[in-house]
């Protein structure tokens, strides 16, 4: 129990009143000195018990999230005792690595027995595991004469897991629809109608156009737009220039790029494509300093690609790091012919534009997916934003499909724009 030091002013007031009253002979002033003394006495006699019955519960929604996702934390503290608590103040122990972007992890109120105090706030997920500590509670006596502090163990969730492959529900439900099998202009097996042709002996019965047979008494076979597997190389721009954040406690552009690449990886592998991964701007094992995983498929390839993308978020490159241009050239030599190169970059300098132009010389199909990490409420932020949009346009002019991933846009919609619409061009090998 700690008596608060609020009434030192009362002591001074009483002394002043008594002195002036005695000196000037004002009896009313002398008696008025009783007033602050009464406050002072009340403060001295006040007690606050730290050992009150408080029950805390914490909910983290969602407990597993990808970088950049807003996570809502709800802390409830209940007065589980039988006495009312006139002044309860609670502060949740938010991990230092996370920043609160909305709401407050603190709260204060008077609690009747059984009554509950709510504190709801939002944090932005950053890659890693974040453990919440025990909330702190401060209980004060009626009139706030004394205060006592204590930690309250909270039931419920204690950890926020932030992983690149934490799948948001729309991706899981619809992933194959958007970024899956790449349809071609060639007739064959598939889902989408392409044309009809005369029936051949080996054609399966499911492809016979029975309606046509009923009308014309001729067997015809339906051709669908053929879907083939393709090679896709996901290139993450992890150069120091891209390791920037949109604001305090927000994930870096590299984390966002790796998150988008991880989802693209999952969807493309799920659709049967061969997927490779390259990380530019980090000290890699390759001669050019490149992290490289050749296109392939299968469970093992998926795990290695995930690890590589996760490592990209923690990658460092010192002063003597390899030249990104050399790494980009290396990717162009390592990637299979007619592969699709997908560059994930925030486009904060001209390197991505030049790289896309260089890859275009080798006739690769290219996609640029750019997470927006710029602030738009400052003059410099708006200026940079204009420059970034110019770079997006330049990428487009260089023959690449440039997709802007603004913060308000869900990732699945961005991936749809990046892959589904460009699919035909990817497999025909031409630029869109």
């Amino acid at each position: 129990m700690n008596p608060t030091a609020r009434w030192t002013a009362g002591l001074i007031a009483a002394a002043v009143l008594a002195t002036v009253g005695a000196a000037a002979g004002y009896a009313s002033l002398l008696l008025a000195a009783v007033v602050p003394l009464l406050y002072l006495t009340y403060g001295v006699l006040s007690t606050a018990d730290a050992d009150v019955a408080l029950r805390a519960h914490r909910e983290i929604e969602p407990a597993t999230a990808p970088p950049g996702q807003e996570v809502t934390v709800t802390l409830t503290v209940e007065n589980a005792g039988s006495d009312p608590l006139p002044d309860v103040r609670v502060a949740d122990a938010v991990p230092e690595s996370l920043g609160v972007i909305d709401g407050s992890p603190r709260g204060g109120t008077a609690l009747e027995p059984g009554e509950t105090l709510w504190a709801e706030y939002s944090v932005v997920a950053k890659r890693g595991e974040h453990e919440f500590g025990a909330p702190r509670a401060r209980v004060r006596s009626f009139g706030a004469g004394a205060a006592a502090d204590r930690a309250v163990e909270a039931s419920g969730e204690r950890r926020l897991h932030c992983r690149l492959d934490a799948s948001a529900p729309p991706i899981e439900q619809q992933g194959d629809r958007f970024a899956g099998g790449m349809p071609t202009d060639s007739p064959g097996q598939g889902l989408e109608f392409h044309s009809t042709r005369p029936y051949r002996r080996d054609d399966p019965a499911s492809r016979i156009d029975w309606r046509h047979y009923a009308k014309r008494d001729e067997l015809t076979t339906v051709n669908y737009r053929e879907r083939r597997a393709s090679s896709v190389v996901l290139v993450v721009d992890a150069r120091p220039a891209s390791r920037v954040v949109a604001g305090p406690a927000r994930p870096t552009a590299v984390e966002l790029a790796a998150y988008a690449a991880t989802h693209a990886l999952e969807d493309l592998l799920g659709a049967g494509h061969e997927v490779g991964v390259a990380v530019v701007g980090a000290d890699g094992p390759d001669d050019a300093g490149l992290h490289w995983l050749a296109p392939g498929s299968g469970r093992d390839r998926r795990a290695r690609a995930r690890d590589l993308l996760a490592a990209a978020t923690e990658a460092t490159a010192g002063e003597n790091a390899a030249d990104p241009d050399a790494q980009a050239a290396r990717i162009a030599t390592l990637a299979p012919p007619r592969a699709q190169l997908v560059l994930f970059s925030p486009l904060l300098d001209d390197w991505p534009v030049e790289t896309v132009e260089t890859w275009g010389v080798r006739d690769y199909s290219r996609v640029v997916l750019s997470p927006d990490v710029l602030t738009h409420n400052t003059v410099t932020g708006q200026f940079e934003s204009v420059r970034r949009h110019t770079r997006l346009a330049n990428c487009q002019a260089a023959g690449a499909r440039a997709v802007d991933w603004s913060r308000a846009t869900p990732l699945y919609a961005v991936l749809e724009a990046a892959f589904a619409a460009d699919a035909r061009g990817a497999l025909t090998g031409g630029s869109s």
Partner: protein, 477 residues
Amino acid sequence: MILLIGPRLDRPSAIGDEGRARAASLGVAAVVTVVVTLAAGLTSGLLDAVQLAGLGGGLVAAGTALLDRESLDGLAVGHFCFMPGGLLCLGGVAAATLVGGPGGFLLALGSTLAALGLASAWANVTHDTTVRAMKQGWAGVFLPFVAGVVLSIVAAFALLLWEFGVAPGVPSLSTLLFLLAFTASAVCLSLMRLPLAHLLAVPREELAQRRAQWRDTARVFVAACLAGWFLVGVLELVGATTGLYRTPGLALLLGVLSTVWVRLPAFLVGVGAVLVALLAALARRATAGNADWLAGPALGMLALFAIPFPILVLLLSGRGGAAGLAGAAFVAALILVAGMLFMLCYSAGPLAVQVGVLPDRAGSLSLASAGLLVAGIGAAALRVPGPVVFACVAGSMVVWDVGEFGLGLTVELGHRPDTRRLELLHGVAAVGLAVGAVVLATGLAVLFGRVGPQGPVLSAVVLAVAGVLALLGPIRG
């Protein structure tokens, strides 16, 4: 707190906004302050003076908060609240002192401080804010002096130029050269200052080249004129040119060149060019987004005179004073002195925070609480009924209690959580304790009144209070 016209005081960043932690606490403190000061004013017979002083205190606080704004409208409204509010405070305190003596002075001063402190707490006035307001206020008070000195110098220079350059007593070539040097300098200055690139369809590079040429030509011309003025002037002084000037043709030419009709256009061109250059420089600074240094003092000076001057003239003319130019000058001087006196009093606040007498964040609340305490002492000196004195002191305690509680809430929980219930509960406790304390003190007063007159009873009370004070320290540790 919202002004009906003009910029809002309750900006989102301000403490005390709706839903913010301190709003309910400050609401309780405001109600208690108003009730107590009105009660003291009513029972002492100084209600008008107390209201005047309190209103002035509130206006000064609003002005202080608004003078921290960067916008011109905030600055303007701030000055028009700050200076007239300060003069209202002085007027209220002066009126209370004239009517009630030292007691009236203390009561009005306490009411002013309470209103100023409470309004400052609402408007989130901090030490930095008061320092900025202090600078703006002093600039507004000093500007009339500075403007007077500058205008006097300009007038003296213009008079000299007129006497010796435009309308010389005798025909003189040196004065003509001096006039030409002045006009050429002024024209060159205005050409340098005017935004010619915007006014003329001339490319910037070309304009810069032209300006450089003009500057060089003007320098040579001015230097030649000044050198000629010096040489010819010396020759004229020693009388070496008297014979030459009497040559018939030259005498006629000099006579024509020394007439007002020839020299006046050159003089007017020079004066006009100086004014244009001055206007261009002021406009450039004012439109550069940093007009505080210019607009602040000008608005301060305007606010100092615009409202108080006509009111005072009307008041004094009704009593036979302030007639004519002398009366107006007297009123202006009175306002100027009052403004300086107010600024001296106001500057004590930031100074007190600077030396650590007043806390920074809780300074406004300390001021409000101390104001009510001073008002209580004033009420006691005015021999108002005891319960009113006790109420003033209890009000002081309540203001400190709820204000400090609300401030602590802001510090511990921030602005976002809703703490209205907590604050109101504490407010009820604080007011309840205050009512109990007033009842107790009143009971004691009644008891002592029945037991006997002042002498021994007073000594006993003094001893009791001193004993309690001495005991409470060790108990609190």
